[in-house]
């Protein structure tokens, strides 16, 4: 090959598309996410316990047996219900709080920088710290019940029994509203000043302004926030795990907790895998909506060359 052609080829190679640069990331994702995901699917079809796990390649194949057992002989349906109720309720509670916070903190006032930093605290605290703090506060003789007793209220038990579900919802609401607040705040930045002025000229009351001027602008960002928030509540393992311990009380036995307990405490690895696969099916619904909504190529003039 003439030297010129070689140079030409090399030039084309280097000024072209060095897609091999994506190899490290691609390899890691394949090895640590994609292969294990496929493996989880395979394991969900096996009879796996602590003895057969070591030789999992030759573990007995039971087909859909684990799935049947998950539906018929386990608390899966209960957990699905708890997870969905918890995810949806928490999102519904955080939504108005986050929007109100954004509306209140949007305009300048003295001390706003401080208030905005305070609003970030629950968001910044690691989940395991948040859960540890609330677990301590909500002990039967802890600070919450002590304060309630000043008003003559008997706080009772927060961390076991039926009320634990509401404890989980409230603590997660405490931790998660700043996420909605941040996305709502970003949404407020893009509202045209003209829209505000027009509303003021028309003499709109604040509730009319909120309804007809502000909320339409926020609908897009908030829809996205709601889906992401719901997904992350449903996938949340740390908060219930640290707040209630494992195995979780039945009212807070969310899917990740049930999967964890089934796999690592009752050592039914096959059944646990089947539950994990089913939880993917559950989150696939909001995820699908999210993928349709997110614009993959926003403002990208470059890609389509």
């Amino acid at each position: 090959m003439p030297a010129g052609a070689v140079r030409q080829a090399r030039k084309a190679g280097t000024t072209g598309r060095p897609l091999w640069l994506m190899a490290p990331g691609g390899l890691l994702i394949a090895l640590v996410i994609l292969v294990p995901a496929v493996l989880a699917l395979w394991m969900s079809l096996l009879q796996l316990d602590q003895y057969s796990l070591r030789t999992w390649l030759s573990a007995p194949f039971v087909g859909l047996g684990n799935y049947v057992e998950a539906f018929v002989g386990s608390r899966l349906l209960h957990s699905v219900w708890v997870s969905v109720a918890f995810g949806v309720l928490t999102t519904l509670l955080t939504l108005p709080i986050g929007v109100a916070a954004a509306l209140a903190a949007h305009n300048a006032f003295r001390g706003r920088a401080l208030v905005r930093s305070v609003f970030l605290i629950p968001y910044v605290l690691p989940s395991f710290v948040t859960a540890t703090i609330w677990r301590t506060l909500l002990q039967p003789s802890g600070a919450v019940n002590e304060s309630l007793s000043w008003f003559g209220i008997d706080g009772g038990l927060w961390l076991i029994g039926d009320r634990s579900f509401w404890t989980l919802v409230l603590v997660d609401t405490w931790a998660a509203w700043p996420f909605i607040y941040l996305l709502a705040l970003a949404g407020l930045q893009v509202i045209d000043r003209e829209a505000h002025e027009a509303a003021a000229l028309d003499g709109a009351s604040w509730s009319q302004k909120l309804r007809y001027v502000v909320l339409p602008y926020l609908r897009g960002p908030l829809a996205l926030a709601v889906i992401i928030a719901t997904l992350s509540h449903i996938n949340n393992f740390t908060l219930p795990y640290v707040l209630f311990g494992s195995p979780a009380p039945r009212p807070v036995e969310v899917l990740p907790m049930l999967t964890y307990t089934t796999s690592f405490q009752t050592v039914r690895f096959g059944l646990g895998s089947a539950m994990a696969i089913l939880s993917v099916v559950l989150i696939a619904i909001p995820l699908f909506i999210y993928l349709r909504a997110v614009r993959l190529d926003t403002g990208n003039r470059a890609g389509e060359r």
Binding site: T14, T15, P18, L19, L21, M22, P24, G26, L28, I29, V32, I33, V35, P36, A37, A40, M43, W56, A100, L103, A104, H106, N107, A108, F109, S117, I121, V124, L125, P126, F128, T132, I133, R135, T136, L137, G142, A143, V144, N145, E146, L182, Q189, I191, W206, V214, N235, T238, V242, Y260, A276, S279, V280, I283, Y290, V294, L296, D297, T298, N300
Partner: protein
């Protein structure tokens, strides 16, 4: 983000359009304010109280004896720094902190590097499967950890059985796992960031004979620090905050601080109550590095979060 550095201005444009000499600030407020003043005060007061009362109490409680915290004492009888002294010997908190810092620090650096390189390819070159990868990056962020925990555990154990490489129980195993979990989000952050960069500089560098890798090193990376910081900090937090994988994949020597903290919560031998005072002081110490990171990079992080759209 807009070029405006003044935080109060909603956008640079609105500031530029405001006629000179008018008291812009107050007028701007009157027009764009939505909630009436009294309601704003109510909302702000309630929320500030909801955050500061529990957090403030925990700060105080971390200086109270274990028994007083357990009994929910609101006004401390006794203020002591003993919790901050004793917690280091009750559990191996220092070891946990060191492990968490090493693991999360390495995860942050490597994952930001890989994310930048990958995002550069995804943004600047057109190829088949590009949209699928972008979609995959979004989808993978929502995969539950409980799905991958067992198969990763089994894969890593098999590496020992068949290849004689020990991964389970080592920091290396944790690093590889967190690093990979951080990649979809980090890459997505960098994709959104790089899209906002003007192509002209890169094209000029190309014309001057720079290779794509040279462009990446000399032009893209120096311009992308705000995005890289966001990608790195979120990767750090993923490692720092994880309990699920750390609880299964560590030995006592490689335990991260998230796992070490759980030991305080257990009842002490002989049925004594947990050491709640020390639990509070160590929880605050666990939160400290994260809070410091946020304080340093707050401006980048909030912008990066809203651009990336995910926690």
């Amino acid at each position: 983000m807009t070029a405006s550095t003044k935080q109060d201005a909603p956008s640079g444009e609105a500031v530029a359009n405001a006629p000179v000499g008018r008291p812009r600030q107050s007028r701007h407020d009157a027009v764009t304010a939505v909630l009436p003043g009294w309601l704003r005060v109510v909302v702000l007061t309630l929320l500030v109280a909801a955050v500061t009362i529990p957090v403030g109490y925990i700060l105080v409680a971390s200086f109270m004896p274990d028994v007083d915290v357990a009994n929910g004492q609101i006004v401390p009888d006794e203020i002591t720094t003993q919790n901050y002294v004793r917690m280091w010997s009750t559990v191996d908190l220092a070891g946990g902190l060191a492990n968490s810092l090493v693991v999360s620090g390495i995860v942050a650096i490597i994952s930001a590097m890989i994310a930048t390189i990958t995002a550069y390819c995804l943004v600047r070159f057109a190829f088949r499967g590009r949209l699928t990868i972008l979609r995959g990056l979004v989808a993978l962020q929502s995969l539950p950890g409980t799905l991958l925990l067992l198969p990763i555990f089994v894969l890593f154990s098999s590496a020992r059985t068949y290849l004689d490489i020990t991964i389970i129980g080592t920091r290396f195993g944790l690093i590889v796992t967190y690093l990979t979990f951080a990649l979809p989000f980090s890459t997505w952050v960098m994709v959104t960031y790089l899209r906002g960069l003007p192509r002209e500089l890169e094209e000029a560098a190309m014309l001057d004979g720079c290779s794509p890798i040279g462009v990446l090193r000399r032009v893209v990376v120096p311009l992308s620090w705000p995005g890289i910081v966001v990608a790195a900090v979120f990767a750090f937090l993923l490692g720092w905050n994880d309990v699920l994988f750390a609880s299964v994949m560590t030995r006592p020597e490689t335990e991260t601080v998230a796992v070490a903290l759980q030991v305080f919560g257990l009842s002490q031998e002989g049925g004594a109550i947990p050491l709640y005072g020390q639990l509070m002081s160590s929880a605050l110490v666990c939160a400290l590095p994260v809070v410091v990171l946020y304080m340093i990079f707050q401006r980048y992080l909030v912008g990066g979060l809203t651009a990336g759209g995910v926690k």
